[in-house]
């Protein structure tokens, strides 16, 4: 493990309230030193990151890696490579695989994979995600599960959810709830509103999510347990979580880029990559999500990376499975639709993408303090580029953002001191001209796209 010196970057580390131009030295998989005009010494790779942001590695707390079961769509390894490409150095993998991750040996299976970044298993709340019998949460936790979730399905029975919250509090790990009332969402495939009325697609009302969020918040109050609400997408859900936090409950939540970058009007194209659950919401919901991200109601931005094969998605809209890939566009979408638009500052973006999800999961990521794990994401916040299908490293390509121009691009990802992704020619060894070279490269790439 060699030494890496990142020179000339702007270091933003919310955990230490740092926003400063300072050099960072990584050594032995740890952050070794911060300082002005650091010299690496012999055997050090010195990288000029002038003009770029140096941030703690991103933490994506909600991804579907499809292994075991659908290795044609993604594997733990291919998903990790895609994550590194997106500047992510830790992911939490949802257990809705086939079979579900509901025993210690399956947790160990996920952890046994050699991956360029850290992959943390989330274990199921109930056996086979059937919503009936609780999993052995203590053993699962000992085996390395960082949270519990039946994501993909809600825990329908409120009594089972109550017991799950009670039991998990003994282990101290959060329940991540997929909040959906299946009776209210029915056979719906898009958000209920003017867009569903004109598109003629069966609607899913905001109430299908909000009724379930309200129920789980009430159960969190009853039990005092840690509840994390997954993929919050509506104004009503944001209000419910805000109120729960004001009441001092241990409730946290996440949203996903598609809930602040897209509106249900986009779905009128019938593009199946826009079929996702919960559905892409109205402009009013998007506005509320953005406010929730800015005022601290929403704690994290996660991708809900959900790979699907082309054959499965190249069908009628209501026959397509829900989900879109998202790890690789997580940071650029956040920068384009939240930071560029002035909704939140860069430091808050990094908090949402790294510091806070790491803290919700209790994993040793999300900060650049000396002595901490050397997970670093370096990105150019101003680089405008067009998303192309061939650019993705995920096995699946179901992204609605193909063809869009985004601002901000990862140029270097370091996981535990190892470079796991490097944009060709963008992060150059120190010769004092890195920023100019990168600008030139950005121009070249945009000419070609």
């Amino acid at each position: 493990m060699r030494r890496i010196l990142l020179k000339g970057g702007r270091v933003i580390d919310p955990a230490t309230r740092t926003d400063d131009h300072v050099d960072v030295l990584l050594d032995g998989g740890r952050v070794a030193e911060w300082g002005d005009d650091l010299e690496g010494g012999e055997g050090t790779r010195t990288i000029d990151v002038t003009g770029a942001i140096v941030a703690p590695g991103l933490v994506d707390m909600h991804v579907h890696l499809r292994e075991p079961g659908r290795e044609d769509e993604e594997t733990i390894e291919s998903g990790s490579v895609a994550a590194a490409h997106g500047g992510i150095t830790a992911v939490a993998a949802m257990p809705n695989t086939t079979p579900a991750i509901d025993t210690a040996s399956w947790v160990q299976f996920v952890r046994s994979k050699r991956t360029p970044i850290a992959v943390y298993p989330i274990a199921a709340i109930t056996l086979a995600r059937e919503g009936k019998t609780l999993t052995e949460m203590a053993e699962l936790s000992d085996a390395g599960a960082v949270a519990f979730s039946d994501d993909g399905s809600p825990v329908v029975n409120p009594s089972v959810m109550r017991r799950a919250l009670e039991y998990s509090s003994m282990v101290g790990r959060p329940i991540i709830s997929h909040c959906e009332d299946l009776e209210l969402s029915g056979r719906g495939v898009m958000n209920e509103g003017l867009a569903s009325t004109t598109a003629g697609l069966r609607p899913i009302p905001a109430a299908a999510e909000e009724v379930a969020v309200a129920r789980d918040i009430i159960l969190a109050r009853t039990t005092g347990a840690k509840l994390h609400v997954a993929h919050v997408s509506t104004r009503g859900s944001v209000e419910l979580v805000r109120r729960a936090k004001e009441d001092g409950l241990a409730v946290t939540c996440e949203t996903c880029p598609h809930y602040f970058a897209l509106t249900d009007d986009d779905v009128r194209s019938y593009d199946t990559s826009l079929r996702v659950n919960p559905p892409i919401r109205s402009a009013a919901d998007v506005a509320a999500i953005r406010i929730g991200l800015a005022d601290g109601t929403i704690d994290a931005i996660a991708s809900d990376h959900a790979p699907h094969s082309l054959e499965e998605k190249q069908v009628e809209f209501d026959a397509a499975p829900p989900g879109m890939i998202g790890m690789e566009t997580l940071l650029p979408l956040t920068l384009t639709y939240l930071v560029q638009s002035g909704t939140i500052a860069l430091e808050r973006a990094i908090e949402l993408l790294s510091t806070d999800p790491a803290s919700i999961l209790g994993i040793p990521h999300g900060n650049l303090e000396v002595g901490s794990r050397a997970d670093v994401t370096v990105f150019d916040p101003d680089w405008a580029w067009e998303v192309e299908e061939s650019w993705f490293r995920s096995k699946s390509k179901n992204s609605p953002f193909i063809g869009r121009t985004l601002t901000g691009r990862v140029i270097l990802t370091i996981s535990e001191g190892e470079i796991v992704f490097e944009e060709d020619g963008a992060a150059t060894d120190d010769d004092g001209e890195a920023a100019e070279k990168r600008e030139h490269l950005a121009r070249e790439l945009s000419l070609h796209s």
Partner: protein
């Protein structure tokens, strides 16, 4: 004449001039249907496939007849969506049919957007013959044709559509078309049958049948599907009929020259009393006859656009010396 669209996917976004072009063209074909020999050679050599993924009798017959009256070659493909789901995908079915060198496809499908999907995968003209609860543009065009035939210019006319709006592709296509021609549209039905934010389509929404119909020029009554009761939308068909069914008593409260329309098939005694359906204000069978003429017009106009595209191909080949 103004028609440049390659496909007919819906009436949303279709302008007044385009709609009038269709209606004027249909009027000419309507005359053909009254002749002893009801056939023109216009589309000889053009092949049209009717893709019916959802059960339909009258719409399919109307399209078939329109195609035959224009001398096109036709082939029919019928399959229930469920059997397609188990086996071949829509894309594969369509590409196989395209490989048979057809020029145009008429599609009826239970999935909204299925016709759009075909336009992305095929190089043939697509006509939407009804896609889920999205649109049914040829039905709306025949409705407009029938209304105009009886009451003239539709600008400022009051048209009320009664019934199951939320599941109706006809109501929406009618609303787009009527709006383009300047008519005032009212949707009337139980609140459970109103889709979200429907008033933003520019229509008046009410559950008061008297208010909706007493001064209407046209009352278009939608079919109530019996399974809606089981879906929890209605307590009973009986209560629906009591509140919204059109019978002689309700008809008597309407203008004496009101037009009673229905896209068919009728649930007699549910949404419409038999003596009103067969009565003198009813133009329901005119709608059926006009449907053939309107579909002939659409097929003709789309084939003209396609022919113009094709004429350019030999010219391009000539330019490159082939």
């Amino acid at each position: 004449m103004s028609w440049t669209n390659k496909h007919l996917l819906g009436l949303e976004g279709v302008g007044r001039d385009e709609i009038l072009t269709v209606l004027d063209t249909a009027a000419k074909f309507r005359e053909v249907l009254d002749r002893p020999v009801k056939k023109v050679p216009t589309l000889r050599g053009v092949t049209i496939v009717n893709l019916f993924f959802e059960a339909s009798t009258r719409t399919r017959m109307s399209f078939e007849l329109a195609e035959k009256r224009l001398s096109a070659d036709t082939l029919n493909f019928s399959a229930s969506t469920s059997s397609v789901k188990k086996g071949e995908t829509l894309r594969d079915t369509a590409r196989n049919i395209e490989a048979m060198m057809v020029d145009m496809a008429v599609i009826r499908h239970s999935s909204p957007g299925a016709p759009h999907f075909l336009t992305q995968h095929l190089d043939v003209s697509i006509i939407n013959a009804g896609d889920g609860a999205h649109e049914h543009p040829t039905q709306a065009l025949l409705d407009l044709f029938t209304m105009r035939d009886h009451i003239g210019d539709l600008a400022g006319k009051r048209v009320t559509i009664v019934g199951d709006i939320v599941h109706s592709r006809v109501a929406k296509s009618d609303a787009w078309g009527l709006a383009a021609l300047g008519a005032d549209v009212t949707f009337c039905g139980p609140t459970t049958f109103m889709p979200a934010e429907v008033e933003r389509l520019g229509v008046t929404v009410t559950s008061d049948i008297h208010e909706a119909t007493h001064d209407a020029d046209v009352v278009n009554i939608l079919r109530i599907q019996k399974e809606r009761q089981e879906g929890g939308f209605l307590p009973s068909l009986r209560e629906y009929t009591r509140l919204f069914g059109i019978d002689q008593a309700r008809l008597a409260e309407m203008r004496p020259d009101v037009l009673i329309m229905h896209p068919g098939p009728i649930n007699r005694g549910v949404e419409l009393a038999p003596d009103v359906a067969d009565g003198e204000r009813s133009v329901i069978l005119d709608q059926v006859t006009n449907g053939v003429a309107v579909r002939m017009a659409i097929i003709y106009l789309l084939s003209r656009v396609r022919a113009q595209e094709r004429i350019e191909e030999p010219e391009i080949l000539a330019e490159v010396g082939l």
